[in-house]
């Protein structure tokens, strides 16, 4: 490691150029990774962050909450068994700020006020604590549209008005920001267009053990991750961008391997001399691997710092979401693949004949 570092410092101009290229590549990888997660979150964060482990849905709904309906008695049965369960309805609509005409997309999440699936507010009060008849908790992205606490927003299709009781953080569903309303408000919303409507929940969110004994009765218990994957466009978007990210990780790492291999080719005589004076292949391989490790680690750390700085300066509407564990996973994979790609140089070194040391010619 010591000698690898000395070589890098000695040839700093050359290595700075290599580092620059790798930092840019790695930055692109992390940035795309953040966008991939951000886009993923824009589809699913309201479900991902929900304090539930699984959902009971209609088995003909193909695990999609919005087209499912579960008889209310199931909820009573679950609660009678002491299981934490709460009804959930999801409906995509749009709202209008009081006194404005601009339509804003929204996905209503109808929940029982004060239930475990109602999110914590970052501003204002929860649904239960609100004195309004029809309170709503909005994702804080709505603030960018000029909505403030206490404002009234209207559902133009039904004419129902909601009072903004609070704001919640990072709650998106199907690329739209979520608004949490009570089951009563949701029922009124539905009855405005269908007076005969009686509330039947789309799904029941459950906390804890997934074995409830409802399978086979037209219902199925679906784990949260499965529900997320079934949200329209989630899998297609997520897979595409994830694939791009990993292809870029591999390309960046292989570029390091190729640079390293070219440098090794230029140092054939030097390695020959080192072998002639008794240096072992393992020692030389150690130097080459250390060099790649230092270069890739440095590139990874700088690009991580760049990405997180960039993320902090990005517009809030940008769907960028990079969690430290994800960034570390991508970075660690990049470093690991870089080291693996340096094996090409190691093989080359093991084949260098120390006889190259004998005879004339400078390095």
């Amino acid at each position: 490691m010591k000698y690898a570092l000395k070589e890098i410092l000695y040839g700093r101009k050359k290595y700075i150029l290599i580092e620059l290229l790798l930092i840019l590549l790695m930055f692109m990888v992390l940035f795309l990774s953040g966008l991939a997660s951000g886009l993923g979150r824009a589809v699913s964060s309201a479900i991902e962050t929900m304090d539930a482990d699984s959902f009971i849905v209609d088995d003909s709904a193909e695990q999609l909450i919005t087209v499912s309906s579960v008889r209310t008695s199931v909820l009573d049965e679950l609660r009678a068994k002491g299981i934490q369960a709460s009804p959930l309805d999801i409906q995509r609509m749009y709202i209008i700020r009081d006194g404005h005409s601009e339509k804003l997309n929204i996905t209503y999440f109808a929940v029982e006020a004060g239930s475990f699936i109602e999110p914590e507010t970052i501003e204002g009060t929860g649904l239960a604590a609100s004195s309004a008849r029809d309170p709503i908790l909005l994702d804080d992205d709505f603030k960018l549209d000029g909505i403030s606490l206490g404002d009234t927003v209207k559902d133009p299709a039904t004419g129902l008005s909601f009072t903004v009781a609070g704001f919640v953080d990072d709650r998106m569903y199907g690329h739209t920001s979520v608004g949490y309303i009570t089951i009563d408000s949701y029922t009124r919303l539905r009855q405005a267009s269908d007076p005969m409507y009686e509330h039947i929940p789309h799904a029941i969110a459950v906390k804890g053990n997934a074995d409830y004994g409802f399978e086979g009765n037209g219902l199925e218990v679906v784990p949260k991750q499965k529900i997320i994957e079934k949200i329209p466009s989630y899998t297609a978007e997520h897979l595409t961008i994830t694939m791009i990210v990993w292809v870029l990780v591999i390309i960046s790492a292989v570029i390091i391997g190729i640079f390293n291999y070219i440098l090794t080719l230029h140092k054939q005589k030097q390695f020959g001399v080192m072998k002639a004076i008794g240096m072992k292949n393992t020692e030389l391989a150690g130097m080459v691997i250390s060099e790649v490790l230092i270069i890739s680690l440095f590139a990874a750390l700088i690009s991580l710092a760049l990405t997180f700085s960039m993320a902090a300066a990005m517009p809030e509407k940008m769907p960028f979401y990079l969690e430290v564990p994800n960034a570390v996973t991508v970075t660690a994979a990049f470093v690991l693949i870089s080291v693996l790609s340096s094996m090409l140089s190691v093989i080359n070194i093991s084949r260098i004949d120390p006889m190259k040391a004998i005879g004339g010619g400078e390095e």
């Binding site: 005589k269 001399v273 002639a276 004076i277 005879g359 004339g360 010619g361 390095e363």
Partner: protein
């Protein structure tokens, strides 16, 4: 340990030359004892480098035996040969062949065996070879003579029994070349080592104990100490 530090017995080595075979060494034998400095001269292509490569365990002979410190190492494995080269042989090359990104001290430290750190102090060795002021210099910052002395110091760092020098004066002027050979001779005398030098430079032959000429694949004694 045997007083015969380097022995080559009936060494044959040939290379493929088109469809035929070109004999480079034909039953060559040489023994160099403790405190002895031998030089091998001969025209270009006569097999001097091949001879040195066989003696330095870089090449395996077609037949014959190589003994170092009395031990037959002809059939030693690749890794054993590497260790012998590191611990028992000191190589000095035609050009200095120093690692460009290492200072003089690091050039020595990178090959020094841990067990030798107490016995051979880098600072003392550099002082002995009068390059102590080059300790923290890179090869690009040194003169040709200083580089060659650093290469000599590298060959001495593990206190080897046998020193092998491949045209050590080739890249130096007459004065510096002579100084380099004197350093090898001093090491041989002072620490009772054996040395073999392949050279074209007849001006330094008075510094060795015995001179051999290699020609037609044969090693012929040319002169002994006092006759040179």
């Amino acid at each position: 340990m045997s007083d015969k530090l380097l022995e080559l017995k009936d060494i044959c080595k040939s290379y493929r030359d088109g469809s035929g075979k070109r004999v480079i060494l034909d039953k060559v034998s040489l023994t160099v004892g403790r405190g002895e400095f031998a030089a091998i001269v001969g025209p270009s292509g006569s097999g001097k480098s091949t001879f040195l490569s066989v003696a330095g365990l870089l090449l395996t002979p077609d037949s014959g035996n190589v003994l170092i410190g009395g031990k037959d190492v002809t059939d030693a494995s690749k890794s054993e040969r590497t260790m012998i080269r590191r611990r028992q042989l000191g190589f000095i090359f035609q050009s200095h062949n120093l690692v460009p990104y290492l200072t003089t001290a690091d050039q020595l430290a990178i090959v020094q065996e841990k067990s030798m750190r107490e016995k051979v102090k880098i600072r003392e060795l550099l002082s002995e070879l009068e390059i102590d002021d080059c300790r923290d210099k890179f090869p690009s910052m040194m003169s040709g003579g200083e580089k060659q002395r650093t290469a000599i110091a590298r060959a001495f760092i593990n206190d080897p029994d046998v020193i092998l020098a491949d045209e050590p004066t080739a890249s130096l002027d007459a004065e510096r070349g002579r100084l380099a050979v004197e350093m090898i001779r001093n090491e041989v005398r002072k620490r009772n080592k054996a040395a073999v030098m392949v050279t074209h430079d007849t001006r330094v032959l008075d510094l060795v104990d015995v001179v051999y000429r290699i020609d037609g694949g044969r090693l012929i004694p040319e002169a002994k100490s006092g006759e040179i």
